[in-house]
Symmetry: C2
Subunit: 310 residues, 2 copies
DNA sequence: CCGTAGGCTAAGCAAGACTTATGGTCGCCG
DNA sequence: CGGCGACCATAAGTCTTGCTTAGCCTACGG
């Protein structure tokens, strides 16, 4: 009969609370977007579970009983507190955005631009993870990610940012030596090649060579693309990398294209986040911002993109 | 996505609250008497409705997110407050019992005994209504009633108290005159008859007279049985009434049976209350008490009851 | 290395919630 | 004073929601 420690049906409590607040089943029904019959049913339900009347039924109106008034007061408070807590929690959640990104993309392209986002949306604190592992976006640790792929992630919303293109980049001092080194993938090494062998293979294929470069053409293998690029800047070899991600190095003249051919693996960098969270304000804001920045980068590197071949 | 002013599903909030409190979906499920799958479903539900994660999912355990913690705290408070309010409301409700009763029964039999109930259960404040109207027991104004009838009230629990019997009662001084007056219902009046004509008719029928007393045998018609009895005590006529209800008058000698025949209409006085409230403590206590008192009265009046004829 | 614990997912099911329809009562208004 | 509208109660039928079962996966621990 009476609630030992179990709560009666919460749906009933909600109906009762609304009815108590507005003093009418019909109005309560309107507020809850349901029918008077439903409210009547729920109130009766609650009365049965409690074993006590909550309303005096008069012909045209209802009136709280003493006990009903006690519950009504507490229920109003409780629901108001709950409602407020949701709003507050959403605010808390919306105040910080955790993003996991590929190291190359994050380090070379994204990080330098972040100041712009901070200036535009100071209320959103960013946390960027460049660990490189494909972190789970559903376990609550990250809000969004930047990944490389074909744009097919089930359950995810994906925004295309930059195409995945690559070309040989080297220090201006190595430019002429590089031309010789790139003449034939099978020729003896003159200047070491840096970066992902698969990209090199694809790049040579884009130039018509069926075979990739032999193993002995490679220099030290480094863990990350941007480390290869740093080595190239230092004149230690020819790196293969994206002219979009490393535009700063090209613009400043620290690197130059070692050859005009641009390769692509037909993939792209995407900004992705769970489809369930597509209405989150912070995700909308960040997504809009990064898409704008990517558009600028695509425009600036349009010449490279146009020449890209798979 | 986000709760504008609508609350997300309360079932989900409850599941979430339990999970947050105990820190485990499985344990929460046990507490709620459901399964881990259900808890998981509800938490996910809530996360979708809010558009934000509430738990970090680790392999073997879950951990509240920042936002989740905010909600968890408020939800715990809210539920605790609700729970407390129900207990309090039940206490309030249980502390007062409103009873509506027939005037004769209430005034003559019940009221003098109430002191005993008050002494036994001082925590329950009684309110007795003797208006005589058959008040609705479902509109929350009354907890229980005492009615006369056959014990068939749909939706009600009914406890039989006293059989509805009646016999002529008069002042000792009128006893001999009364004998003459009752000899034949059609004889000219010598002493006026008081009380319900239908009872008089039934009573004469119980004695073998097919016709009831003629109209001119009646004295002033009074509104209530106990007023007729009071008139009889004052020597103004012969009243027809229950020797059980007016035992005090008989015991004290203020009234005596004017004839030994006892009539009955095969009805009884019942203590009734809504079946939905059968577990209410105050109703159980009062019901037990009044049943005991009625049993005593039946024992004391067993001689009358045995002789009753319809 | 396997057993156990904890959580996730899918699919089917059942109880509860809701709707529609109807009836009754009261109060208002012509 | 009778018709109408507002309001609540009730019944029956439908459908959503929440729950269960079953199976999978991962991490931890003996």
């Amino acid at each position: 009969m009476v609630a030992e420690d179990k709560l009666p049906s919460l749906s009933s409590i909600r109906a009762f609370e609304a009815a108590a607040r507005v003093g009418s089943f019909a109005q309560a029904a309107a507020e809850l977007g349901t029918t008077a019959a439903s409210v009547s049913y729920h109130v009766r339900q609650l009365e049965q579970q409690l074993g006590m009347p909550l309303f005096h039924r008069h012909a045209q109106r209802v009136e709280l009983t003493q006990g009903g008034a006690v519950i009504a007061r507490e229920a109003m408070n409780a629901f108001a507190a709950l409602r407020a807590s949701f709003v507050r929690a959403v605010e808390v959640d919306e105040s910080r955005l955790a993003l996991t990104t590929l190291p190359s993309f994050g380090t070379s392209w994204l990080t330098p631009l972040l100041g712009g986002f901070r200036a535009k949306h100071p209320a959103i604190a960013l946390r960027i993870d460049v660990s490189g592992d494909a972190e789970d976006l559903n376990d609550g640790r990250f809000d969004a990610a930047i990944r490389n792929g074909l744009g097919r992630w089930p359950g995810m919303r994906a925004v295309k940012l930059l195409p995945s293109i690559f070309m040989p980049l080297c220090s201006p001092k190595l430019k002429s030596a590089a031309a010789a080194a790139l003449a034939n993938p099978r020729k003896a090494p003159e200047v070491p090649l840096l970066g992902r062998p698969d990209w090199w293979t694809m790049w040579f294929r884009a130039r018509g060579f069926s075979a990739g470069p032999s193993r002995d053409k490679f220099g030290t293998s480094l863990a990350h693309e941007y480390l290869d690029i740093a080595a190239a800047v230092a004149g230690q070899g020819i790196a293969i990398g994206s002219p979009l991600l490393f535009r700063a190095e090209l613009d400043s003249g620290r690197l130059v294209p070692a050859h005009d051919t641009v390769g692509t693996d037909d993939r792209a960098f995407w900004f992705i986040y769970p489809a369930a969270r597509q209405h989150s304000r912070k995700l909308k804001l960040f997504g809009q911002w990064i898409e704008d920045e990517a558009a600028k980068a695509r425009a600036a590197g349009a010449g490279f993109i146009r020449r890209a071949r798979g």
